[in-house]
Subunit: 332 residues, 5 copies
């Protein structure tokens, strides 16, 4: 209960370390804050921008290029240096997925004959950045697919009828799509921003010592890499926007359906009112002849059938007249 | 499925090349990204501003004047140099239309005696810019005409009666008009901005080597050209705004009609309630005389007709009294 | 149909020319764009700010002071130089009105003994500016008067009853008042801005060569002139705001009246429901005694009158009880 | 009718002049605009900021410190110089109140033995500033008290029942409170701003020639004076905000009361519908036995009482069953 | 009543003084404004930023680092110097709580063997800052707990049924949560801002004379301290946001429940209308046979039972038919 910052000085950070060389698999490490800063040559200010313990204050996507490191915060939080990388929060889903696909990739790369796709020529730091971007794009696509599936199922459900749970589902789905849309556009904007900052692009190849012509080729490579993932996120973003648009249309059409139904109900009620009114009039007439007073027609069979047929005719006539009146005034 | 940027390096761009001289028709070319940059002398940053593969991030109208080229992104995306022009996305409707009208124009110009309209004195780059502007204005006008036709048809439909599909149509039409309005004003603003930037106007005549007096004449020519299309887009924009205003009035008047109808319905229901209430009272009275108890008037014919006429009078009287009461309180 | 900017180069401008000296009446002139620029010594950029052919892009009130001219765009669009003035768009209502009042003024000034109001000492350019301001203020006041009359008539109409057309009228009137209010404040702000720019005030006396003390007197004169019309527009603006406030109150009070009426209706319907319910109970009782079964009271006259009076009492009693219940719960 | 700025040059300003010395009472003066500017050594620009004839364009609270004068616009508009002050708009309520309390203060100060509160040591200009601030604070407090009283009376009225006029009153009261709140905060912000501008604070003691230590004491005095009135206005502002909060709660609670009442009404109507339906069924049954056909039970007394009791039981039973059904579904 | 700033000069401030050394308990002091400024070496401007007498104008959380003092305004308002601290507003709950926990801490620290948590190495000013931060975090957590408890109780209440008081409670709870959320984020932002200002962090150790390496260690210590409390407030903030999200969901689900109930009610009313209409028809039929006219079936027992069974069948049939019709149109 007694809270104070005393213990904070030696706060431990659990990380996964990936070394650029040596072929060793990623392994877990526990570093104190100070050791982490020493190891990555970061200032406390920079570390704070991807420090997971500071909570939501730095949850927005970020690609930060520093003198000797690249900080990536795209679902996975990675500090990338020229010769090694540290994955913060090693136990989140994103980190585990990232590590898995990384391991597969390294194993594939170490197999002979895998040079076909030309990727092995990239320096370690760019490979790491690309791996993080792949992971992020994969996540975005998964979420998009999930949203699309929910949308389809909801659409099917709505064709059979409106239920109360459907509205709840609608609302949650819309929230999910809005979140996905804003996340995709945040990632894309962050990448575009990095791309527009010439210094960032130049410095991103941390291990490079190239100058002149060679430097230019390198820069072009980085630009290509970033542009490719801008396209990928943009594709997801565009699809999400289209989905959101569809959802809004669905929502709108539901509310139109509902109000049409209300109109229908009020029409039927009006018709019932008209018919009931006619019946009430008829009841009064029959009541009149049912009074134990002498109308002098008591014995007349003709009177009975005449009255009855007049009643039915009158009843139907009043109803029809009122119905037509309402139609003419455009309210039925 | 295995995604990475490796293949991106040699991404091919399909373009249509139009040469300023030589009279050859426009022909298709496939260029890699690098070849495209070399051919047009653009920096990657500039290319990115009209690169169609980057999706919606650069969909806003743009006229960008660079040292050796003019980038136009107005439905068609064209890179204009002093001696040739490249049309990106050669297979979109806009590009096909553009090429068609360009071909016709070139054929017309090559016929003898076609110098009458003084256009042949413009240098190649300005002719291209004007062609793009013509295409854009034509598109805007087509969309305006389409919207106007939809508005008219909807107006006619609404006079005969309100249906559920009409609301849907209303909504889609409004969206289309809003989009057209914002697009027209975006094009106009982009042109005005270019016009207000003296450097842009001066540099737009890429092939010019004129100075002094001659330069001034040239600049005036470019200003006139741009101003003319500002006027054209402004005309579309103004008409669209008027149309939007009309649509809003239509919308408003529909909702007034609907609420007037609701009022009508509630009035009729109130009147039916009043009449039914009077009938219920009458039914009770007839019921009283219908009881198998002895009222001592059983044999009285007078009583029958008196009661009946009193009943009818009372019924009508109560209804009339309540009706007048409601009228006096202004609720019928 | 074939649109291009070729013909734009020699676009003709119709203007009215007013010469400062020579006593000649204003006469119409057709100038090409180039002649207009030469005649007024304006740059194309400046002309664009009051060019009527550019549509809505420059419809806001403007008083622009340049080295050798004052551009006024206040309903009438005038280019004022030291020795002459050009009125653009000579055929609009505003221009015609302006010319008429100008002619009258000149005729009045040319009559002997008209120096009484001290206006003849103003140089030509200030006289023109003042004439334009007078015209604008006159227009604003006319519109204010028109709106006030509409408001009064609507207020009268609303006292007799609500009709559907009244709402439409209400809406259009509100729009007109809002537009007038924003226009009046735009004119006032433009004048205040000119007044706050010392350079503008100093340069406005185009023909002046005064310096030192004489210059100060001149500047004070211009300031007085502008301040006077700030007051005039502010007066209109204040009255419009008050009118708008009244309109909003009227609107509010209409909606309160409507909702009060709805409440009234629902109260009457509830009362009818109560009374109908009581009548239904009574109908059942009479029905019971009307059954062709033997109640053993068939011959009892007492039973008849007792039942009947009990029925009436019960009916009234149930109604009264329910009515009081509703009153106690505050819902009737 | 013929409007022009010619007469404006000699526009007269009515002011009250208060001299710092000489013991003469404030007296009325008519100054032309030019004389006013000479007398106070103000530029036209500065005068414009508190000129009452320019209407609403300068209605916001202002304390402006110039080289030789302090302009105060806080309800009263005063130009304060080192040796005299001019009150503009001498006939408004605020000015009359201000003059009255000023006269009383001077008379009190001139009586022997009145030095007790240490105020006579302030220089003339600060006494004037303080008098204006006192007047403003007094006004704010009066308005607050007035609003509080209205709020109390409305609260009492709402406990006895809702009437239509109450809503109108509610609305006007809310407007008044919002205006007071914004005015109080505007005065406070203006004072805080003056307080934060070191130059303003230093120059405010117009007559001072002090330097060094003595200057610092003076500055502290001015700061104390301003801070004191910041506190006063802040107190009013805080109370107004609390009142506004209460008003909003009252509003909210009224609307909750109304919707609860609506719910009540619909419940009672549903119950009436249920009971009426049961009565209708019973009426049919009695009608069946009332038919002039032979049921063979005509002579059975048992049948009569059995049927009657079954009817009553059935009627009550149906009602009760439906009532319970509605309760179980939570809609009664 | 006679208000003026004369007395303000010697306004007394009640404070609690805590000395860094000497072991004396905190004691109350009355200082004049001037004494307070002398004692803390603050400028009036700085004092104003935490002066409680200036009301709401400085109620936002603040940590201000000056040359010789740190001003903390986090619920408690403390002026911290290198050798003593003054707590303003000594009688508020926050100040009393703060002093209590401070006393306990000092007593604990003075006991032998309490050096275990390493806190005694901090200089006095940082101990004070930390104490204030602890107090603030404690308050935030208490409020969060209180809100959580209210939320839980409300959730339970809503499961049993909706009442009118529940809505009121809902509203107040929501307000409380929104306020807590904005306060927590304001505190966090203020701390992050201080953390991001290198000068602030360096100067915060007022008593330090360290340079070089030693200085760096000190700065790191301050950063750690601030970061720790950023985390604490962020934790509260995150939990509050989640709570707010839940509250909004609860709100939404209530409104869905209510509208579902309304739908239910209208369905039941429609069904009652249908059944009543059928009964009215039946009543007419029985009325017909109840007329005292001769139908020639008077003696027929078969007619009675036939009619009766037809009646029941017809009644049920009409109801069923209408019911099915409504179902088919999806409105029941």
């Amino acid at each position: 209960q007694e809270r104070h910052a005393g213990h904070y000085l030696s706060k431990p950070y659990a990380v996964y370390r990936i070394n650029a060389t040596g072929g060793r698999m990623p392994y877990k490490q526990i570093l104190t804050r100070r050791e982490l800063l020493r190891d990555t040559d970061l200032s406390p200010r920079d570390l704070r921008r991807i420090d997971p313990t500071l909570g939501q204050t730095n949850n927005t996507p970020a690609v930060i290029v520093r003198e000797d490191s690249v900080l990536v915060n795209l679902g996975v939080r990675i500090i990338i240096c020229a010769d090694h990388a540290l994955i913060l929060e090693p136990d989140t889903m994103a980190s585990v997925n990232f590590l898995e696909s990384w391991t597969q990739r390294v194993q594939a790369a170490s197999m002979p004959g895998s040079n076909a796709d030309g990727m092995e020529v990239l320096p370690f730091e760019l490979v790491m950045v690309e791996a993080a971007l792949q992971e992020t794009c994969g996540q975005l696509e998964n979420r998009l697919e999930h949203c699309t599936r929910r949308y389809r199922s909801l659409e099917r459900k709505l064709q059979t009828g409106l239920e109360r749970t459907t509205f709840e589902e609608m609302r949650f789905m819309k929230q999910a799509i809005v979140q996905l849309e804003s996340h995709a556009s945040a990632v894309r904007d962050e990448l575009l921003e990095t791309l527009d900052d010439e210094d960032d692009v130049e410095r991103m190849t941390l291990s490079s010592k190239a100058t002149g012509e060679a430097k230019e080729v390198e820069v072009e490579e980085v630009e290509n890499l970033l542009e490719y993932y801008v396209q990928q996120t943009e594709a997801v973003h565009g699809a999400t926007e289209a989905l959101l648009e569809n959802t809004r249309d669905l929502d709108e059409s539901i509310s139109v359906t509902l109000s049409a139904r209300r109109l229908e109900v009020s029409k039927i009620e009006l018709m019932l009112s008209i018919a009931s009114f006619a019946a009430a009039i008829a009841a009064v007439v029959t009541g009149v002849f049912g009074m134990n007073l002498t109308s002098t027609f008591e014995a007349s069979v003709v009177a009975f059938y005449l009255t009855t047929s007049l009643l039915v005719t009158g009843c139907v006539g009043i109803s029809a007249w009122l119905y037509r009146l309402c139609r003419r005034r455009n309210i039925l």
